[in-house]
Structure formats: C-alpha cells, structure tokens
Amino acid sequence: MTDRVRAACKALDADGPFSRKDVVYHIDPADDRGELSVRRAFQGIYDRGELVRIGRGKYRNVKDMAPVSDVRQRIYRAMHIKGAFCAADIVKLADADQSYISAVIRKLVKIGRLELTGKAGGTKVFRVRHKDRFYLEYVK
C-alpha cells in the first residue's frame, strides 16, 4: 500500500499541491478498511519527511523518486544488510566496480546517510546512520 500511495503522490504532485483526500480518490480503495489503510500509509510517508505540508491540507513531494539503476540498487541492498562495512565488503556482495561503490559511498556520506566509523588497516569502515530510514529510502 505504501508504494501505491507513494506512486499516487508522485502522480498528483505533477499537477501541483494535493490533499490527503486527492490521494484517497486517486487510489480509490474498495471499502472503508482500504481507505483507512491509504490514510495510514499517507501519514507514514508524511512522518518520514517524504512529503511537506505547504498549507492547510495541502502537500508536496520532496523526495526524488526517480528509479535507480540495478547496480546501485544492489549496492544499497548490500549496505543495508551489512550495516557496518568497507567498500570491499560491498564488492563481495554486489559484484560492482570498487570505484563506483566508493563514489556512491562518498555521495551518501556527504548527505549524511552514512558515517565513517574508523579505519582498519588502511581500509575505511562506514556505518549506516539510521537503518530503518535507509531501508525505506533506498532499499524498499
């Protein structure tokens, strides 16, 4: 349901600010329980900061929801499952190029999703800062 609500928000956002009701109409759930489920998923997305409230009952998307490449998706999944890792650990799991992995790590460190925890024998060790948030934003 969360994915459907997210997709609806993206579609509605193209025409400007939208309300919670717009999302419910867009998904058109079969019964009251479905509507409750849509509202709950919408609240979850708002709580995670993917939407921003710009006025009374009006929201906009703040997250770039462009589809990521398969290799990058594998790298994100490997980072999530490892928790704390060095670039070589990700190479082993995701079969991606080490220089590309290092570039992805640098980008994620810069925006605060990963942090450097130390060096082990000349190898930098990183850690996912908020595991759940990382999972929702990059893996799911």
Partner: protein
C-alpha cells in the same frame, strides 16, 4: 588480501532453492537451510538478498515474540510496523498483491515454536514462500511439529567446504596455488568451516609477507595447523 566471493556448491544449491520457491505457489512453500556455524549460510543469504529483488531478509533477534517477528516482516515488506497482529496481516495482504516475495528468516534455530507457527500462518494465509535458516537444532524443531514438517518442501543441509573450494579460495584471496596435500591438511584443520579458512589465509599471508616468499610452503601450513607448536 583480496576479498572475493566464492560460489561454492552450497551457494549454488541455495540459489536454485530460492528460484524454486519463487516459482508458482504450491501451498508447500516452506523450506529450511541447515548447517553448523561457519559454513557460510548467512553470507549466502545476504548475497541472495542483495542480488534478488524478490527476497526480503529478516534476522531473528534473541527473545523476539511472535508479534515482534510479524511487525518486522511487515516493516520489511511495507515500510510500516503496526502494533496489532491483524493490522500486520492486512498490510501484508495489501503489499503482496503487487509482487510475490520470498521471506528469508535467519537464525531460525533460536525461534520459539510460536514464532515458527506465525511463519506457518503467513505461508498458509498469504501464500508467501518462507525460507528459514539456522543451525542443526532447527531440523529438530521443524520435525517436532507435523504441521511444520508437512509444509516444508525441502531441507537443504550445508555440507562442509571441500578440497576444490579450499584451492579456489587461496587462489583468489592471496593468489597462492596449493598442492593437494596442503589442501587436505588445511581442510582437516578447518573442519569444513569457512571462518577458520579465512583466518588461516590471513595468517599465511602475514607469514609470507614477513619472510618475503610468494608461495605457501609446507612449513607455513604445518606451522599454522599446529598453532606454532613444534
């Protein structure tokens, strides 16, 4: 030391099992991967999760109740952790409409009977394939209950690391070729597990670096096998 992945025969069998479980539902879609610690079960699962979008991985934490397990599965599939059991089921039902996914639960041997039966409920009600991973005690837990036993499609036992795996591992990690005798000695020392093999290769590389030689000699193998004892 070069960190690399060795697709062992155990990994290949696990990959085939995952593909089989993700195929058409047969209502007997539970399976278990069983093996002692150090055989590479968890690593194989991590790699399968990384490379297969239709899988979801849950690491069972000690003393989790069945509700906590359900919440975690709901979170992995939908991004929400509802408080109530029924809400978890509703959310899961909504989620799987779009895409059928395999739920991998690691450290399954530490799960209580009620947690195993929650997985059975998810399998029965939502028709989702479940793969439980754990140490040999898991087999006894599954066999104890006929309900679980009859729903288990296959039990995959992780066999010990073989001679070919040892040779390939040393070739790819430290670039050293081993003689068959050395492989047998190392295999005996490692007792079929991957972790001792890894520590063995680290020690061998250190000795090679210090003494300035580029090949693994019989003396190095004997010294590590005997832990420096004469």
């Amino acid at each position: 030391m070069n960190k690399c992945f060795i697709p062992t025969h155990n990994y290949q069998k696990t990959e085939a099992l995952v593909e089989e479980l993700l195929g058409p539902a047969m209502n007997v879609d539970m399976a278990a991967v069983i093996g002692p610690a150090g055989r590479g079960k968890s690593f194989a699962m991590e790699r399968i999760f990384t490379n297969n979008k239709n899988t979801t991985y849950v690491l069972y934490q000690e003393k989790w109740s069945h509700i906590e397990l359900m919440r975690e599965i709901a979170f992995r599939l939908s991004g929400e952790r509802p408080r109530l059991r029924q809400a978890c089921f509703d959310i899961l039902q909504d989620e799987i409409r779009e895409r059928r996914r395999l739920i991998i639960v690691d450290d399954g041997d530490r799960m209580s009977s009620s947690c195993l039966n929650v997985l059975r409920n998810i399998h029965d009600i939502l028709h989702l394939p479940i793969l439980i991973v754990g140490e040999p005690f898991l087999e006894r837990k599954i066999m104890r209950e006929k309900r679980l036993k009859s729903r288990t499609r296959s039990l995959l036992f992780y066999s010990p690391v073989n001679q070919a795996d040892v040779g390939l591992f040393f070739k790819q990690t430290i670039g050293a070729s081993l003689t068959p005798d050395q492989q047998i000695k190392i295999l005996k020392h490692c007792e079929g597990d991957f972790r001792p093999l890894l520590t063995f290769s680290v020690k061998a590389e250190q000795i090679m670096k210090v003494s300035g030689i580029s090949a693994v000699t019989d003396r190095i193998v004997d010294e590590i096998c005997n832990n420096g004892r004469k």
